[in-house]
């Protein structure tokens, strides 16, 4: 594997929250945030940042983009002689696409991009090419107010690509996109990754990231539960090698699978049909079903969804994870000097 572009080591950011006191009504304290995150971004690879609402995905992306300060931890980049140097300003490395930007105003698409290019201290010669890349070249002179949601998303990614960043951070980029636009967007992401850009995509919908990401990072309550190549993490969490089998008739017993070293995860059966989810060697399971006289109508691998990822990574049940998105249970609430406002 290539050397990482950027390495985040034990980085932390905590939001400040109001904590008014009688004698100091403006007082604030450190609240929830992200804690001890260590991960590396590799050139040409797409990292899926996955977690439920409130997991800290947006906070982590903002920190990676240099929008939020890193309160502790380090960010390093390798040098040519294989040493690493601290990264001073992440904004020069990363292009950031926030979750929802309501591009508005009477100024045109190209004017807006020129304005952002000016902020980067760059010329405007590459803007037409950029608009071509995101499919907005015919809307270049359109006022922002006239853009549809899909076009706004495209403009957001164009803005993130200004300056040809080495790292592209996409926060819930599929929100508001229809299936056609989403597929086009995924193709664009693959194209950019092919050019060596390291891409981080956050999503709470794992299915949207299937086939797109090379690595996955599971985030929950501000902490990184697991990170690595998709297959490796699936294996570590025992979510790999799962198959769903269905067939007609009734399934009375699964004892015939026991000797196969196969886990039977779920069974459902009624008078007319049965279904079975197993984890193990698929061919041997199929053979055993046939030997047992079961007719198998369908057989398909099962990909884990977000809930399964989280349950497997935390060891908690769905009820335990619940809808509690802002729990402070895992956040040390020690006093910290307020460094920012929110």
């Amino acid at each position: 594997m290539a050397d990482p572009l950027l390495t985040f080591d034990e980085v932390q950011h905590r939001h400040t929250v109001p904590a008014p006191k009688a004698w100091k009504p403006w007082a604030k304290r450190a609240g929830a945030g992200i804690h001890g995150i260590s991960l590396s971004l590799y050139p040409g690879q797409v990292l899926g940042l996955v977690g439920p609402n409130g997991a800290g995905k947006t906070t982590l992306l903002r920190m990676m983009a240099g929008v939020l300060p890193i309160h502790s931890g380090t960010v390093t980049a390798p040098t040519e002689d294989r040493h690493s140097v601290a990264v001073e300003d992440l904004r020069t490395w990363a292009g950031h696409m926030p979750e929802q930007v309501r591009w508005q105003g009477a100024i045109t698409v190209v004017d807006m991009l020129e304005q952002l290019s000016d902020m980067r201290g760059q010329g405007h010669h590459h803007l037409r090419g950029l608009l071509n890349l995101v499919g907005l070249h015919e809307r270049a002179e359109e006022p922002l107010d006239n853009l549809s949601q899909g076009m706004r998303q495209r403009l957001s990614i164009a803005a993130a690509l200004l300056g040809s960043p080495k790292v592209l951070l996409l926060d819930e980029p599929f929100n508001g996109l229809d299936p056609v636009a989403a597929e086009a967007f995924a193709a664009l992401v693959r194209r950019l990754a092919g050019k060596g850009v390291s891409i981080v995509i956050s999503s709470h919908m794992v299915t949207q990231l299937e086939g797109l990401i090379d690595r996955i990072a599971l985030l929950h309550r501000g902490q990184l539960l697991d990170e690595g190549p998709l297959a490796d993490v699936e294996k570590r969490l025992a979510l790999d090698g799962r198959y769903q089998l269905t067939g007609p008739g009734e399934l009375d017993d699964t004892a015939f699978l026991r000797h196969l070293d196969t886990d039977v995860l779920t069974t459902e059966s009624n008078e007319t049909s049965w279904s079975l989810m197993v984890r193990g060697d698929a061919e041997r399971v199929l053979q055993a079903c046939n030997d047992h006289g079961l007719s198998v109508a369908s057989w398909a691998p099962v990909k884990p969804n977000l809930v399964e990822w989280l349950c497997a990574a935390t060891g908690m049940s769905l009820d335990d994870i619940s809808l509690d998105v802002a729990s402070s249970a895992m956040v040390p609430m020690m006093a910290m000097e307020a460094m920012e406002d929110e």
Partner: protein, 276 residues
């Protein structure tokens, strides 16, 4: 691209965007009424002011017409800049701007310059018209120094209110709060400051509102240093030899410097701590 050039480029884009906006079109009649309009009235050869005074020099007329700057131009400055940051925060644009590799202090400078220019361009155009109106009505031009001081002072007071509005805009979570804060500050210094002055004078045992009482005049002059409008008038009074409220020119200019540097510094601090 040098840092200064980058700041000026971003400021120019912001200025141009504001200059063609609807907001300025709405404010323009107000500015015309308050700037050349007031000058037209005060330069009437037969005008007698409530105290029985008749302005007899161009600078005196400009001084009285500066009420239009205090009431109109500053208000327009606030209305121009109140959503300078809060609108971007609400739309998500702020996050994109903060993610650009332009130091936040430079972004703050571009914000200030862009908004101040957007209001100062029409104000200065109308000030030139004001001087022409005075010349037309009185047959007298202000001296070059008087014109420069008038222009610089007006530029400063508009800049101060722009800074206040931008400060409010960086602090407020939504635009309603930002405009309430901006207009509140304007209202306080424009209308309520007289009340503050009167209360302090009364508490100090000074004959309130007695224009010939030197203690009242000195106290009022001193308290005016704590108000941007008051400092503005002190600056203009440096060109009126008949007016002496106990504040030397260097003191007035020092106060002007403080009123410029402190809010600008505060805005820089706010920008550094800003989160989307």
């Amino acid at each position: 691209m040098s840092d200064l050039r980058r700041i000026l480029k971003v400021a120019a884009r912001l200025r141009n965007e504001r200059l063609v906006g609807v907001r300025l079109k709405v404010m323009l009649p107000i500015l015309i009424l308050f700037l050349p309009g007031l000058a037209w009235g005060f330069s009437d050869p037969s005008i007698v002011l409530p105290g029985g005074h008749q302005p007899d020099t161009a600078m005196e007329v400009l001084f009285y017409a500066s009420l239009g700057v205090v009431f109109g131009a500053t208000m327009c400055g606030v209305l121009m800049a109140f959503d300078g940051v809060s609108k971007d925060r609400a739309s998500g644009m702020l996050e994109i701007r903060l993610a650009q590799p332009m130091p936040r202090q430079h972004q703050a400078a571009a914000l200030v310059l862009g908004h101040a220019q957007a209001i100062l361009i029409p104000v200065y155009t109308l000030l030139i018209l004001t001087v022409v109106v005075v010349r037309f009505r009185m047959g007298e031009w202000p001296t070059l120094t008087e014109a420069l001081v008038y222009g610089l002072s007006t530029g400063l007071i508009v800049l101060w209110y722009t800074l206040f509005a931008l400060l409010a805009s960086t602090t407020a979570k939504e635009q309603g709060t930002a405009i309430a804060f901006g207009v509140g500050v304007w209202f306080f210094f424009t209308f309520l400051w007289a009340l503050v002055t009167t209360m302090v004078a009364y508490a100090s045992g000074v004959a309130v509102g007695e224009p010939n009482d030197p203690t009242w005049v000195a106290l009022e002059g001193m308290l005016d240093m704590l108000s941007p409008n008051g400092v503005y008038h002190h600056l203009l009074e440096t060109q009126l030899p008949t007016v002496d409220r106990g504040i030397a020119a260097w003191q007035a200019w020092s106060a002007a410097l403080l009123w410029t540097v402190l809010p600008w510094w505060a805005l820089h601090r706010r920008m550094e701590a800003l989160v989307p």
